[in-house]
């Protein structure tokens, strides 16, 4: 069906994302931070939906909100919360953070001002109904090799994690 009130929903979700992101870094309680991050991820999934990318939205919900964040929470819950609140926050790298934030902000502004040259003016002609099929064709056809490389990379990461976590196997 045709989208309804697109600007309204876009700004709604964008606001939720920004507020959620700010909450993530300002909350002292790590569980609250994690929950705020989940809200951000869900709002992001909604934006994907508005961009006619339902598959990416679904994967975002399953993997990030439903999978990874649960594991995050899992670890955070086992940490003694009272202690971590009293503990000094990781503020010592604020110089680096400031530089990175400025650079990123500059990049965004540059993209926004020169956007018309970079992005095509016309709307993308993606049809929602076969988006998933197109993603599949792309991943398993044109981009087969990078896709497989990515999975290999993940495998290496898993093995690395196991080696680091287990003292003896």
């Amino acid at each position: 069906m045709a989208p309804v009130a697109t600007p309204f929903f876009f700004y709604l979700f964008a606001a939720i994302m920004v507020i959620g992101g700010i909450m993530v870094i300002t909350r002292k309680n790590p569980v609250h931070s994690a929950l705020a991050l989940i809200v951000t991820l869900l709002a992001q999934a909604s934006v994907y939906l508005m961009l006619y990318a339902p598959f990416v939205a679904g994967v975002q919900i399953i993997l990030y909100a439903g999978g990874i964040m649960v594991l995050f929470l899992f670890v955070i819950m086992l940490v003694s919360i009272d202690r971590s609140i009293r503990e000094r926050q990781f503020n010592s790298q604020w110089v680096v953070g400031l530089i990175a934030a400025t650079a990123l902000g500059g990049l965004f502004i540059a993209v926004y001002t020169k956007g018309t040259n970079i992005f095509p003016e016309h709307a993308l002609s993606i049809v929602e109904s076969d988006n998933t099929q197109q993603v599949a064709t792309m991943l398993y056809g044109q981009y087969m090799f990078p896709f497989e490389i990515a999975s290999l990379l993940l495998l290496v990461a898993i093995i690395g994690a196991v080696v680091m976590a287990k003292k003896r196997i």
Binding site: L78, V79, S80, R83, S84, E87
Partner: protein, 384 residues
């Protein structure tokens, strides 16, 4: 023998705070109000994740001072109190007490009384094992066996009710024999119960014995070796499941158990599954004993000649019987008056409970529940 370093006092509840992120150790309090501690047992568990590092039992929430009461009651008056210790096997408790006092008085119950005692005690063993089976299965998550066992236990309780008017704390026996003659149709009803009950044991077994989950949950869980059992004084089905063939009914026959033909089922591994099998086999053996006792029920008096006012000669006596849960012993010191100078009970549940720590180390929380269930403790008897 058990490693002395693993003694129970190791539990340091004031452990200093561990470094950040190492929040694995957890001290958890289970009970006294917990659905799986069979009453008011309190267990303090020290866990690493879900693995049990050690545990400590805190008892005494049901202490009523039964032993002390015994010093202020005459021998006859104390008789009903013993029923309140192991209230699911009240008849066995009564039998042990009566026989101990008889030993002190040097009288012996007449054969008919002995036979009826055996019948009622073995029925009680079945009832106790039924209750154990139901609750144990419930702890492990199988809810249905509980209702099956309670349905069948009801039949036993009906026989008790008809015999002495009470269902749970029966006070069925008197010192020197029985107070009541059996009611008319007693033998027939007991026989009917046996034919009714035999297929029911198969029914319980059908639900559990070969059930994959049941086997996985009970095999190799709460293992205790025969040596450890003897060192801790553990008796009853728990000891026999560890491969020690020790049953007081055979080892030092009391009542007239020596006249009956039955086997002592034993296990090999001493795990929860073996204890289950041993108890189920014991139910079958009890059926065998009752059958023989009912067939050979002699006529005759039901009371031996005992004085109205009992004043046993000064002295002491220890007598023990094989209660459903293990060796139930009474140690009575008489100073020649109408009241015992000291009554000491050796309750099987209390002694068996000691083994909990040994059996649970290195197991998971879920196994603690299974092990408490398999020990078949009754808190009334632990605390007295």
């Amino acid at each position: 023998m058990i490693d002395p370093n693993s003694s129970l006092s190791h539990l340091d509840l004031e452990t200093p705070e561990k470094p950040f992120l190492d929040a694995n150790e957890l001290v958890i309090n289970m009970g006294p109000q917990h659905p799986a501690t069979h009453g008011v047992l309190r267990v303090i568990l020290r866990l690493d994740g879900e693995k049990v590092l050690g545990l400590e039992c805190v008892i005494g929430y049901l202490h009523r001072g039964v032993e002390k009461i015994g010093e202020h009651r005459t021998y006859t008056m104390f008789n009903p109190y013993v029923d309140r210790m192991d209230y699911v096997a009240a008849v066995s408790n009564g039998l042990g007490y009566c026989e101990t006092v008889e030993k002190l008085l040097n009288v012996e119950a007449p054969p008919r009384a002995q036979h009826v005692r055996v019948i009622l005690t073995e029925l009680n063993r079945i009832a106790s094992h039924q209750l154990w089976l139901g609750t144990h299965a419930l702890d492990i998550g199988a809810i249905t066996p509980l209702f099956y066992t309670f349905r069948d236990r009801e039949e036993i309780l009906k026989i008790y009710e008809k015999y002495c008017g009470a269902r749970l704390t029966t006070h069925a026996f008197r010192i020197g024999g029985l107070q009541y003659e059996t009611y008319s149709g007693f033998e027939k009803e007991v026989k009917n119960f046996l034919t009714f009950f035999r297929p029911k044991i198969d029914e319980y077994e059908e639900l559990l014995t070969t059930n994959r989950i049941w086997v996985e949950r009970t095999k190799n869980v709460g293992i205790i070796s025969g040596k450890d059992c003897i060192a801790l004084g553990v008796t009853g089905p728990v000891l026999r499941a560890s491969g020690v063939k020790w049953d007081l009914r055979k080892a030092q026959p009391y009542a007239n158990y020596k006249n009956f033909d039955f086997d002592i089922p034993i296990g090999q591994n001493g795990d929860t599954y073996d204890r289950y099998l041993v108890r189920v086999a014991e139910m079958r053996q009890s059926v065998r004993i009752i059958e023989q006792a009912v067939e050979a029920l002699p006529e005759g008096p039901i009371m031996a000649k005992v004085p109205k006012v009992m004043k046993p000669a000064a002295g002491e006596v220890y007598h023990s019987i094989e209660a459903p849960k293990g060796e139930l012993g009474y140690f009575i010191v008489s100073d020649g008056s109408t009241q015992p100078y000291r009554v000491r009970v050796r309750p099987p549940s209390f002694v068996n409970l000691q083994a909990l720590d040994v059996m649970c180390r290195g197991q998971l929380v879920a196994d603690v529940i299974a092990v408490i269930g398999t020990l078949d403790i009754v808190l009334g008897e632990v605390d007295r």
